[in-house]
Each structure stands twice: as C-alpha cells, then as structure tokens.
C-alpha cells in the first residue's frame, strides 16, 4: 500500500496513472503516500467523498496535514478491509442522517482491527476518523475506548488518557463526596 517518495520515477508514474482510474492517493502530515480505493473512500468518508466529487483530489497525493502516517495507514487499512467484508447497502441504510442513528455492534473483524491498536494509535485514529467524517470508524473506535473505560476509577482514567489532575485536594474531596453513589460497582 505504502509508496515511498524515493522510488523510481517510472513506478511513480505508473502508480499515478492507476490512481486516475479507481484509487486516490492520500498524503500524511509527514509526507508519506497511501493509496485507497476511490469507491471505498467516497463511501466511508464524507470529507473524501466531498473532495472527490468537487475534483479537489491531487493525483500526486492529497494533503491531509492533520493526520500522521501511522493513523492514515490505519484509515486506509480499515477502508480496504471494509470494502472486502460488508455489503454497502447495510452501511448506507445505517447512515441516514439522524444524529443518533442506532449503533450497530462492531463486526468481528472490526473488533480485531481496533483490538490490536495501542492506546495512542487508537486515539489518533479517533481523531482521523472525526476529521475525515468517517462515522462508522468513529463509532467502532469510540466503542472500543468506552469499553476500556468501564468500571475504571478516575485515577485509572487519568493514566489511560494522560490527564493531569487539576483539582485541589479539598475540591476533589468535595466532589468525591457528592458523587459517592457513582463509586460503587457498575
């Protein structure tokens, strides 16, 4: 999938020609190029669909400055796996624009896909999915993180999300007392 910039020119030209037909080339913030099926990109990402329809796709690599190469690789990987495994009709019917469209449980392959990711990679992927308007990928990644949060204490959450506790000792004691009910087992 990944095409390094330094490869031979002939190969590059061939890749670009291919992209003209049925793929689009995306460029990460750190300059790496990734190819993804045009059909899958348009179907899974509202932002890419808009760019494809509006003709703002660059054959030499569409700049996605907000997305690092690791996250973009995961995005592309997800699009390819998705194209191979789910009939598009199911997805289309679930994305009808009611903003709390019923969430469908992740498929087995989607579960495996997010399970192998590190915390950082997962968080980066949430951001990438949000930026690209990939509703299903956002659903699947957020679902995974929410599962990780179940039954966790505030201390554990701070650790997972790398958050500083900015409460004073007294404030924390006060809010802890007010919310005592929420500290019994889930």
């Amino acid at each position: 999938m990944e095409v390094d910039k330094g490869k031979g020119e002939a190969e590059e030209t061939r890749k670009v020609a291919e992209a003209d037909r049925d793929t689009v080339t995306l460029k990460s913030s750190d300059g790496k190029l990734f190819e993804v099926s045009k059909e899958a990109a348009a179907r899974l990402s509202t932002v890419l669909a808009g760019m494809i329809a509006g003709g703002s796709i660059d054959d030499n690599g569409t700049d996605l400055k907000q997305i690092g190469s690791e996250a973009l690789e995961n995005v592309v990987d997800y699009c390819n796996k998705h194209a191979n495994s789910i009939p598009s009709a199911a997805l289309i019917s679930s994305s009808i624009s009611f903003n709390t469209a019923p969430f469908k449980e992740p498929e087995e392959w989607e579960r495996k896909f997010v399970d192998r990711l590190s915390h950082d990679a997962l968080f980066d992927l949430v951001e990438a999915a949000n930026f690209l308007g990939m509703e299903r990928l956002l659903d699947v990644t957020c679902h995974k993180i929410s599962e990780m949060m179940k039954g966790k204490s505030p201390d554990q959450i701070r650790e997972v999300f790398n958050i500083k506790n900015d409460y004073t000792k007294e404030e924390l004691e006060e809010i802890r007392q007010e919310l005592a009910w929420a500290f019994y087992d889930d």
């Binding site: 950082d120 949000n130 957020c142 179940k150 999300f161 409460y167 009910w181």
Partner: protein
C-alpha cells in the same frame, strides 16, 4: 459530527457555556483527543461512570456538565412530576357544586430548578387544542405521555399527547379505539416506549381488561406508521413465546398499582395469575410480542414479605417487598427488602438489600398505604424513593451509604409521582401539532 466539533472549536456561545475559555484548554490537557471526541466516547459510557469521571479533572467535569454536551450524554433522574386533583367548592350559594382542578408541579431532587426544562409545560397547555386538565400517564427516557383531558376521555376522541419538556416538542396521538372499561374492576394502562439512542420513533402500548375475568387486550401505536394495531389477532402466532397463553386468555388479572419497568425493550408489568394464585411479571414489547412471565416470588418463600413495587434500576428488574410485623412481641424483623432479577435463565431473584422500618420511619409497625408508600427506584443509584404519611415528607434511601434524606414536603401523599430523566436531544418525529 464534524460540525459539532467546529462549534466547540470556535468557542461556545458565552450564554450557554459557564466557562467559554475552557474548550481550548481541553486540547492541551487531554492527550491528543479533542473535546468532541471525548464527548463522543463518553456518550457510550454508562451514566454512573460518566458521573464518576467528573472527578478525573476540572476539564472533564466542565466537559460533562457543559450544556452544549447535554444532548449527547446520558442524563440521570432530575426529579418527579407530581400531579393530583383538587376540588374547589362552588360559590357561597351552592358550596356543594365542586369544581375539579388538576394540579401539576415538579419536585426537583437537587432542590435547584433546572432552567433548561419547561416544567410548567406552558409550551403545551398554551395550545388551543390541548386541554387544561391533561393527565400525566407515563414517562420514558425524557418523554412524557399525557391523556388529553381526563383519562376516560382519551378513549373517546381526545386521545394522547407525547411531549419532551426539555426541547418543548410535542405531538398528538389519536385514541386507540378501545372504550374505557365499563366495570369498576376493569383496568386499562397506557405506556410510552421511546429510546432516542435506538430509534427516533416512539411507541405506545395499551393493556386493557374489562373486568376481573375478562380477556386482556393489547394495542400498540407506532409513530412511524401513525396507526394503532390490534394485537389479539397475533395471539396464535406468539403462543409459543409464553405470555399470551399464560395471561391473555382470561386466567389473569391486570394490576395497576405495582409499577412497571422497561428491561431490554420489553415492558414489564404485574398481573395476578388466577390459576397459580400468585403475582407474576408479564412482558410485552412495542410490537405486542411477549415472553415468559417472571414469578414475583410467592410471599411464603420469604417470610411475611409481600411485593409492593417493581421497577428498573441500572438495567435490571427490581422488586421491593414489605415484611410487616404482625404481632407486637413478635421477634420477626419488619422492614423492606429489595430484590434484583439478574438471572434470566434460572428466573432467580437475588436479595440486594434489607432496611428496617425503624431505620426508615423511626417505628417498627408500618404498613404500605397506611404509613408510607414506595414511589420508585432510582434508575442509576442504588436508591429507593418513599413518601411517609405522618409527618408527610418525601424520602430517598441510599442502599449503599444507608443514608436517609428527606428532600421535599408534598401537597398530599396521595398524588401521583412520575420520575423524570431529561433528554435534550431534538426529536425529528415530534412535530408540535395536533
């Protein structure tokens, strides 16, 4: 999602947000996740955990309590709608000529008023088609179900109203076509089923019995189709699922005083099984489908305990039972026990908590209806709500901390207390018209 994110990145309207500068701070502190993604994740976490995570940091607390995010995060019990009927005597010449007046108010659990919800329901009652004496029948996930007028009148032409006081949206529902039970022993109950996380559409389920021995009728309404369906004709089709065979064919009596609960999409309500001579919890879903009954534990299995109320808490079916002391010198323990039904397979009830009447009311001899009444289970806390008759007060009892808290003095102990959990999400279905 994208546009929501932009809204928060641009800075939130100062009027809605208590701390508009906070949103930029979030990006720095929360690893690499922007606040919209955090809210997106939190929207999938149980409400109990969300409240616990307010302790994570000030930033998270502000994120969770920000009015802009209320729409997406699950809410918890705000309080109770209280309704009763009072009679005003007529003029001095004819004091016997009483006028009936429906009273309605809201009792907030925190004691604070919530400025985001129109508890007066003026958005509804100001409409010329809506009657002044609308009667609250049920509440479900932020939505209220009213009879448009007295309950019996809803069976005529006036029908029902479904509304959301947080978004000020409402919609009229025609009557089901059933007539109000003619016999005083008849019972008819109408329930609202809605969960915006699952579907924008709502359903009404009407369970109706004309007298002690009458057949039980079930009718369902869907806002998607806009029509009431007569479910008795499906009886044969669903006989193998349990329910219909067990309770529809005249061997059961509908009860209206022991509460209801929605568990995994099934509406649970109490019937008295004439054949087995015991209370059972029957089930019906929004399409009229049924499943096996859950026996409500015969009293002899648990001392003198008798079931008072069922309800839902933290996703499970709960039941509270009274253990009354029958004789003054009896060594028998007297109080309330709370049971939870977790084991669907084996139909097992698990004892969750016991509390004595002495602890609750300061005396050992108490009777449901005479001295007190259990009103509801908290949907997210291990908590019971009760009304004590003398002196009259509303009490919450926390089963975890074992703390009692008197939080309100009601007008009367005999009114109806309907729990209310707000929902701030606009419904595409409620069209604000009759």
């Amino acid at each position: 999602m994208i546009c929501l994110r932009r809204a928060s990145a641009d800075g939130i309207d100062g009027e809605d947000c208590p701390n508009p500068k906070r949103s930029t701070l979030v990006v720095e502190l929360v690893a690499s996740l922007p606040d919209d993604s955090i809210v997106e994740i939190l929207s999938r976490v149980p409400v109990r955990s969300i409240h616990r995570f307010k302790c994570v940091s000030r930033v998270w607390r502000d994120l969770i309590t920000n009015p802009l995010h209320r729409k997406r995060l699950p809410q918890t019990l705000e309080g109770f709608f209280y309704s009763d009927v009072e009679f005003h005597s007529g003029c001095a010449d004819a004091p016997w000529n009483y006028r009936r007046h429906a009273h309605r108010s809201f009792i907030s659990l925190s004691g604070r008023s919530t400025p985001f919800v129109d508890f007066s329901l003026s958005f509804l009652t100001s409409h010329p088609w809506v009657r002044n004496d609308i009667k609250l029948l049920d509440s479900c996930n932020g939505f209220l179900l009213f009879a448009n007028g007295k309950v019996a009148e809803a069976y005529g032409t006036l029908g029902y109203i479904v509304c959301n006081p947080a978004t000020k949206q409402w919609m009229a529902v025609p009557s089901s076509g059933l007539s109000y039970p003619a016999s005083p022993a008849g019972v008819s109950l109408t329930y609202l089923l809605i969960d915006l996380a699952m579907s924008p559409h709502f359903h009404l389920v009407q369970i109706w019995q004309n007298g002690f021995w009458g057949e039980i009728e079930v009718r369902t309404y869907s806002s998607e189709t806009g029509v009431w369906c007569h479910r008795s004709s499906d009886r044969r089709q669903w006989i193998e699922q349990g329910g219909w065979e067990e309770w529809v064919n005249g061997a059961a009596m509908l009860t209206s005083t022991m509460g209801s609960a929605i568990i995994k999409g099934m509406l649970r309500f109490v019937i008295f099984d004439m054949v087995k001579s015991e209370y059972q919890i029957a089930a019906v879903d929004r399409e009229g489908k049924t499943c096996r009954n859950i026996p409500l534990l015969p009293a002899y299995k648990h001392g003198a305990g008798s079931a008072l109320l069922i309800g839902q808490s933290q996703g499970f079916l709960h039941c509270v039972r009274e253990h009354a002391r029958r004789e003054i010198n009896s060594p028998e323990w007297a109080g309330l026990s709370v049971w939870v039904h977790k084991d669907q397979e084996n139909n097992e009830w698990e004892l969750k908590h016991k509390v004595s009447f002495y602890k609750l009311f300061g005396k050992t001899s108490c009777h449901d209806g005479r001295d007190y009444r259990v009103l509801a289970f908290h949907p997210d806390h291990n908590m019971l709500f009760l009304v004590q008759h003398l002196p009259m007060k509303l009490i919450s009892y926390d089963m975890d901390s074992k703390k009692l808290h008197a939080f309100h003095t009601p007008r009367s102990s005999h009114g109806q207390f309907t729990p209310y959990v707000p929902c701030f999400l606009e419904s595409p279905v409620l069209a604000n018209k009759e």
